[in-house]
């Protein structure tokens, strides 16, 4: 598997440019026959959430800062990374929401971005420090994907049929 040359898109850290990032990512993803439309939508939403966070991270820092989006295409995957120079955060200690059945849930308008990202893409990793954050999203393109693996039942995991 060779990683193909990369597309880089650098935008001002401003809300109005997130749509452009979505456009670029979904255009690249649409070029991949192996990626179903539904998964393109998933990647687009995940990238949009990560970009929104990157832009918001700069609100407290410097409005002239920029967000860098890199898209690398390989035979079997699309990798999108979103880098900001915001203050950083710890993705493993985010507050949890009350359960959706709790009336108190309505007090939380935020905090859905990262849970969405985690659900939508095949792999996500965060690299965050006080110098900034880099979020790396991976979407596999091959027909036989992650989903199939997850759908394995315990029976499938039993001893192979040697017949």
């Amino acid at each position: 598997m060779s990683i193909e040359p990369v597309i880089e898109l650098e935008i001002p850290a401003r809300a109005e440019y997130v749509g452009l990032v979505r456009l670029v990512v979904s255009s690249l993803a649409s070029g991949r026959r192996a990626l179903a439309e539904e998964r393109i939508d998933d990647l687009k939403l995940a990238v949009s959430e990560a970009c929104t966070n990157a832009i918001e991270a700069h609100h407290d820092v410097d409005a002239d800062e920029r967000v860098l989006v890199r898209c690398a295409e390989a035979d079997d995957r699309l990798v999108v990374s979103i880098r900001d120079k915001g203050p950083g955060f710890d993705p493993d200690s985010l507050p949890e929401h009350p359960p959706v059945t709790d009336p108190d849930r309505l007090n939380f308008e935020r905090g859905l971005g990262i849970p969405l990202i985690r659900t939508l893409v095949d792999e996500v990793s965060f690299d965050s420090s006080s110098a900034g954050t880099s979020v790396r999203l991976v979407m596999f393109c091959e027909p036989v994907s992650f989903d199939d693996e997850i759908d394995l039942t315990l029976d499938d995991l039993a001893e192979p049929d040697l017949g």
Binding site: A15, E16, V18, S48, T52, P99, T101, E109, L112, L120
Partner: protein, 111 residues
């Protein structure tokens, strides 16, 4: 990026039809519109998402905020949505349990 917001009254219910992409850039306009409607005493609101091409967590947050606001007036905010890719965002986040989601404006207005 344009966000279309059309308001219509139907049988005592306010129907807000949203068109376009709801994201961090456009969601503030949706929020303002909801606040405006509530301040006009519209406490039964149906948000029609059938014309929405994209909805992210910022948009979800605005809808949650709107629902909260309306509930505090003993009102309600319900949704019209049949598009799988938009429904999916509500499903993943568990918000299908928070919002009443209808297939048609008629069903939503009938409550």
């Amino acid at each position: 990026m344009e966000l279309g917001l059309d308001v219509e009254e139907q049988d005592g219910t306010t129907v807000l039809a949203v068109r376009g992409e709801v994201d961090v850039y456009t969601a503030p306009r949706l929020r303002e519109k909801l606040v405006e409607l509530v301040s006009q005493g519209k406490y039964k609101i149906v948000v029609n998402l059938e014309g929405v091409d994209f909805l992210d967590s910022t948009g979800l947050g605005v809808l949650v905020g709107g629902l909260k606001r309306l509930r505090s007036h003993d009102g309600d905010l319900t949704l019209v949505c049949t598009q799988p890719r938009i429904l999916k965002v509500f499903e993943i986040t568990g918000l299908t349990k928070v919002f009443a989601i209808h297939d048609t404006v008629e069903a939503a207005v009938a409550g």
